[in-house]
């Protein structure tokens, strides 16, 4: 969309105005995320820049909120022995992080296993009721979270699954399924079914044909689906509020009550760490995409 040499002044003006508008929109998108980073190093317990920070005074910055992530909730932060064990077992944020990973990983495994299997079935041309089944499988993404949370809470209580890790894991697996279905079916669109038939004709069992032929080819889709499912669980708070007790507190749940009750820059320090995690996830996804393009012989223009 480069500006042609013959453009008149009106066109030039519009061109630069448009670029400026786009620049402002990008600022709107990215500035809140960037603003969190410096504020998390604030020495004062405020959510805003102090004059010292603006002047670049090194005294105005500190790591105290990062230390607070580790020490908050510890039995004895002054202890000399067993400090890390204490952090691991008692620090609030560390426990939430452990819950987040525990719930996220198991929810991802369930969602990815069921979802991949279903996506393979769905992408077969002979699949009956394809559209309606797809609509049902995508629906957890569409149903408002409050309703999902209420329904699972009411029903899971009947089976003693409310306020347990298993309950939260099952609910999160449900929320992750649409993402796995969408990404895996998208990779299966370009999949050549004759490859599997070739494997059958050479005597491979269905299981062997799936794991040795089909799976490696759709793996990028499965991995990005799994990442989506993990992030969904890692970021989810409404279901955790309904289904989880203190024992199931995840990071977003802890942040949620932190924002409501005692707003402290510790939340900003946690937010910074989460931003770094999402950058890492984004980079992983981009690498998978590039690899896929390279394998398919597509080069970026």
């Amino acid at each position: 969309m480069a500006l042609p040499a013959y453009a008149g002044w009106g066109e030039r003006l519009w061109y630069y105005t448009f670029r400026f508008l786009c620049f402002l929109i990008f600022v709107f998108l990215i500035s809140p995320i960037l603003i969190v980073l410096p504020l998390s190093f604030n020495v004062e317990p405020y959510f805003s820049f102090t004059p010292g920070m603006l002047a670049g005074d090194a005294e105005a910055y500190s790591l105290r909120w990062y230390r607070d992530i580790l020490t908050n909730g510890m039995a004895n932060p002054e202890a000399t022995t067993g400090w890390w064990a204490d952090v691991w077992n008692n620090a609030q944020w560390v426990r939430s992080m452990r819950n987040s990973f525990f719930i996220g990983i198991f929810a991802t495994i369930i969602a990815t296993a069921f979802g991949t299997l279903a996506a393979v079935g769905l992408s077969r041309s002979e699949m009956p009721f394809k559209k309606s089944i797809m609509a049902i499988l995508i629906s957890p993404m569409i149903v408002p979270l409050v309703i999902t949370a209420a329904g699972t809470f009411k029903a899971f209580s009947l089976f003693g699954l409310a306020y347990t890790h298993i309950g939260v894991i099952l609910a999160h697996a449900i929320l992750g399924i649409p993402f796995v279905i969408i990404t895996v079916t998208a990779t299966l669109v370009g999949f050549d079914q004759s490859l599997v038939q070739a494997a059958y004709s050479m005597g491979a069992s269905p299981l062997r044909a799936f794991f040795k032929v089909q799976m490696p080819l759709i793996l990028p889709g499965v991995i990005s689906g799994a990442l989506f499912a993990f992030v969904t669980s890692f970021d989810e708070v409404v279901v955790v509020i309904a289904l989880g007790s203190v024992e199931q507190r995840t990071i977003p749940r802890q942040m949620f009550s932190g924002i409501r009750e005692q707003i402290s820059p510790t939340i900003l320090a946690v937010a910074t760490i989460l931003v770094i995690i999402s950058i890492a996830l984004l980079a992983t996804l981009e690498l998978i995409r590039r690899r896929g393009e390279r394998l398919r012989g597509v080069t970026p223009t």
């Binding site: 299997l117 769905l122 089944i133 995508i138 629906s139 029903a155 942040m255 999402s278 950058i279 970026p300």
Partner: protein, 414 residues
């Protein structure tokens, strides 16, 4: 002749075998999907159905006051309650007090006739000592037992299938004869709430469109290397936790926040009169627009990338101005993207919970927050369910519309 018959027999046999093989491969495909379908049905669809059923099915009174329910069935709601009904009521109250379920019953009737809660709890305490005829002794404890409206409320509560909660969710009053009546002007809170939810979702969708369209256009028309780089600026917020982004907006918009600091610095406002940008509807709008913007940009971008630039060039070579070429040739081709993005943003926005709960304050809360309040604070699951049912109807209609416009199998991520 004989060969022809043999051929038809072969044909029939072949057809049968083919049908059988087709059936088997269909079954195999279905079996691959069935574990997930079963799982979703048991752990997702059935629970939601159960929850939504609470809004039209309430068996509290029926279960805990069986004799009264029986006696009320034959009553015509107009004539004076007879001794049999009073006796049944007293007998039930004695049992309900022993089982500690009288509180539930009282709450249930109280919803039909506000103010009748204490009537039940205090009478039940003395019910065991009452003596026949109960038609005289029960009103001796509380005079209100002579009030026919109380009996009518009980009759309404004794029906298990009740439209009362949906009526309440739509700001209607259910009369004892089964007719509906609009609530008084001052008590139409749910209509206000639903209109506000629709208004916020609509505004967020519009803002997302106005902000998303230009950058999707820019991304689609820039060379791939630059646009991939700029796309990261869209994807990073998309992948960042909603809690992080909401927290970030608190830091930006609060009265001592970055935006107000800048406004003071540039002299737009003075230190004493900083703007309240958050904990109100404005805060909800800004934060939700930011959170949902990628949902608009990504479908728009993927549609715009598929539009060949030669169309606009052709229009221009035929003498169209930039304006005409854009509006008559380019913009119509982006409508599928606008449809996909707008419906997606609207669906997600209408059921939004976290952001309104954290930055919405009083006037920025949405229907999800109220549903949550009824579940957690007032413990009125039936009303929560009715409100949820109304929300579900809207969302499912939009989902159906999305399928018609975009097609569910065309949904893409990132």
């Amino acid at each position: 002749m004989t060969t022809a018959t043999a051929e038809t027999i072969d044909d029939a046999l072949l057809k049968k075998r083919l049908d059988k093989a087709m059936f088997r491969s269909r079954l195999r495909a279905f079996l691959l999907v069935s574990p997930l379908l079963l799982f979703l049905f048991v752990a997702f669809i059935a629970p939601i159905g159960y929850f939504l059923g609470l809004g039209i099915w309430d068996s509290t009174f029926h279960n805990h006051m069986p004799k009264t329910t029986e006696a009320l069935r034959d009553w015509n709601s107009i004539s004076e309650p007879d001794e049999k009904m009073y006796a049944a009521l007293v007998a039930d109250m004695v049992v309900a007090r022993e089982n500690r379920t009288i509180g539930k019953v009282a709450t249930r009737v109280n919803r039909e006739k506000p103010g009748s809660r204490s009537l039940f709890t205090s009478s039940a305490r003395k019910a065991a000592k009452l003596e026949a005829p109960f038609k005289e002794s029960l009103p001796g404890v509380k005079k209100n037992w002579n009030d026919i409206a109380v009996w009518q409320a009980m009759k309404t509560a004794s029906r298990r299938l009740t439209p009362g909660y949906y009526a309440a969710a739509l700001d209607l009053k259910l009369n004892s004869d089964g007719s509906f009546q609009r609530q008084d002007e001052k008590r139409r809170i749910h209509m206000i709430l639903m209109l506000r939810t629709l208004q916020i979702s609509l505004l967020v969708t519009l803002f997302c469109l106005f902000l998303g369209y230009p950058i999707a256009y820019l991304l689609a028309t820039l060379p791939a290397r630059t646009s991939n780089l700029l796309l990261i600026l869209v994807l990073l917020p998309f992948w960042t936790s909603i809690l992080v982004r909401t927290t970030a907006w608190i830091a930006m918009l609060q009265s001592q926040g970055v935006v107000n600091d800048l406004l003071v610095y540039f002299g737009i406002t003075d230190d004493g009169s900083r703007y309240s940008l958050i904990y109100n509807k404005l805060g909800t709008l800004i934060a939700m627009t930011h959170i949902l913007l990628p949902f608009m940009v990504l479908p728009l971008y993927s549609v715009m990338k598929g539009i060949p630039p030669s169309y606009v060039r052709a229009a221009k070579s035929l003498g169209a101005t930039n304006w005409t070429a854009f509006w008559r040739v380019y913009a119509p081709q982006t409508i599928p993207g606008i449809g996909a993005g707008a419906i997606l943003v609207f669906i997600v926005a209408i059921g939004y919970y976290i952001t309104p709960a954290l930055v919405g304050g009083q006037e920025g809360t949405m229907i999800s927050n109220t549903i949550d309040d009824h579940m957690r604070k007032s413990l009125n699951w039936s009303l929560a369910s009715a409100l949820g049912g109304v929300l579900m109807i809207v969302v499912l209609t939009l989902y159906w519309l999305y399928d018609r416009v975009v097609g569910i199998d065309n949904m893409k991520l990132g």
